[in-house]
Amino acid sequence: MTDTTHDAGTRRDFLYVASGAMGAVGVAAAAWPLIDQMNPSAAALALASTEIDISAVQAGQQIVYKWRGHPLFVRRRTPAEIAAAKAVDVSSLPDPLARNANLPDNAQATDADRTIKPEVLVLIGVCTHLGCTPTVSTPTAVEGEYGGWLCHCHGSQYDTAGRIRKGPAPQNLAVPPYAFLSDTRIKVG
């Protein structure tokens, strides 16, 4: 008698636990579509890469294009700007990584690793702090102390290689995946 009750008890416990666990799995499985629907849709993911004609960008100038809904900076640097960027000791940078999608993740933030051709700097124009678009320096109006970009939202300053030098931004401006099709055309994405 006692044995049977005992058996019945464990079987009942097992059934409770098993159905409870199955129920939890069911709820979790049902919740996932509800959560994942908020991620980028297939249409947003299928953004084709863009080809850009950069012949209009003059030395010392930047033109802003659009890529994946973000501003895309293309800046043709002057020799002085390249020299200034090369002179920086990488180990002294707040973010010593290149953040270059064309290179391995651990590439160093040397000037050479930030570009494909030294005179053409291609960057995603999104401040790595909170996503504002930094303002570029022009020969008449220098933005920030490093001749590169200043983000007016919270004061992050980038140098002429788009590397973070001062302010709250944690990372260098990202370099998107891109390739030169010719001297004046690049393909981004």
């Binding site: 849709s41 919270h154 709250p168």
Partner: protein
């Protein structure tokens, strides 16, 4: 909801209802006979004012949603259509946009009042916590709502705030993408924010229900901070407090109307009348005024993750106040030292708000505002984490009156009444 009910059904019909769904009894006990301390002052009228604000926001919001189009290409245009072509659309829109500011104005007064008179102290901890939860939901709702007109400030405010989540190590960037539904703030973001902006006020209304329920268990605190000891200390809610609340609500509505009709864009930013442009950030991004103190804290920290933690911590701290205050006396009226720190906190929050509104490299009297904001942030934290616990232990409070009735009516009157 607590204590015995004094409701007696007056007709057969009322009796019939009362046996099946005692809603009239509930209304009678909570809004008519509810014993309320007889010494509540003007600062206690803001609870009613806030209920009014929530109702106004929900009603005007439902009306606006009938005309608004949540599409990145059409949203800005549809708001202008509301302002120019919809019958009384400009009125609904200005009541709703200024209503948000009035709502926050009232909630800040309500919160500081609770802080001053120690309304968060036992047995009212849950009332306070539910209140902070309402405040948090209000901030979320206001943020979603500010995005909807799809102006420059809408867009860039949304960008900055959603990017705060990307500060979380490892999963942060994925959370940001998940929030956006794209790789940047865009049409998908606008649509979900509209959906949530419509949903949250009803959740707020539900939490307000809990807040009032929790209030009706111990009853109101009062400016003396002492417990109700006898029926002499209280008055029935109706007509005493219904008429008092109505009068002060009317004064509040006059201020509200002043903004709606004569300075409708006072709390707004001209940049939000420029359509969102993902390629151009306005020179100075400022959130709505009611978020400025937190924004100042965020900006004063030169590290992304730390900035977000400091800002978030400032709000989390509010939940813990009931346990940070060690004083046995509730009201600052009898706490000479705490009273001074309290007013310093009020000034501190205003200074933080001012710093948050200025551009990032601004200075006042030659002092960079970022340093002012840092000092002010330190005081904010120090107030809750050091001053509150320590002052409660070392301060000698003034002598408390024997009862509310004695304090209001004087010794002889109180005695005579008994």
């Amino acid at each position: 909801m607590s204590g015995h009910s004094t409701y007696t059904p007056k007709s057969g019909f009322e009796k019939w209802i009362d046996q099946r769904l005692p809603l009239p009894r509930l209304m009678h006990d909570t809004m008519q006979t509810f014993p309320t301390p007889r010494n509540l002052n003007i600062w206690y009228t803001f609870g009613g004012i806030l209920t009014f604000c929530l109702a106004v926001q929900i009603v005007t919001g439902i009306v606006l949603a009938m005309h608004y189009v949540a599409n990145a290409d059409l949203a800005f245009e549809s708001v202008e259509r509301i302002m120019r072509d919809v019958n009384y659309g400009w009125l609904m829109r200005f009541v709703h946009s200024n209503g948000a500011s009035m709502f926050f104005l009232a909630v800040y007064i309500h919160m500081f009042r609770g802080l001053y008179y120690g309304s968060y102290k036992a047995p009212r901890e849950l009332i306070w916590i539910l209140g902070v939860l309402i405040y948090l939901l209000m901030m979320a709702t206001a943020f979603f709502g500010y995005v909807l007109p799809w102006g420059q400030m809408s867009f860039w405010g949304a960008t900055v705030i959603t990017n705060l989540f990307s500060a979380i190590p490892y999963v942060g960037p994925h959370i940001a993408t998940w929030l956006w539904g794209d790789f940047a703030v865009g049409d998908a973001t606008l649509n979900r924010f509209f959906s949530l902006h419509y949903l949250l006020p009803f959740i707020i209304a539900a939490v307000v229900g809990l807040h009032i329920w929790a209030l009706h268990v111990p009853g109101n605190n009062n400016p003396l901070g002492i417990d109700v000891k006898s029926p002499q200390d209280t008055l029935p809610f109706h007509p005493y407090y219904t008429v008092k609340d109505a009068f002060y609500l009317c004064l509040f509505v006059i201020v509200f109307a002043g903004f709606v009709f004569y300075a409708p864009n006072f709390f707004g930013n001209p940049d939000n009348y420029v359509q969102a442009n993902p390629l151009v950030t306005p020179p100075d991004i400022v959130p709505e005024w009611y978020l400025l103190p937190f924004y100042a804290m965020l900006r004063s920290i030169p590290n992304k993750l730390m900035g977000v933690i400091v800002m978030g911590g400032a709000i989390v701290t509010l939940f813990l106040i009931p346990w940070l205050d060690t004083s046995r006396v509730r009201s600052c009226r009898f706490r000479p030292l705490m009273k001074q720190f309290f007013w310093a906190l009020v000034v501190d929050c205003i200074i933080l708000g001012y710093c948050g509104a200025q551009s990032v490299d601004a200075a006042a009297f030659g002092i960079p505002l970022v340093w002012v904001a840092r000092l002010a942030s330190v005081y904010y934290y120090a107030f809750f984490w050091l001053i509150m616990p320590i002052v409660g232990l070392i301060e000698t409070p003034k002598k408390l009156p024997a009862s509310i009735a004695q304090s209001v009516l004087g010794d002889s009157a109180a005695a005579a009444a008994e």
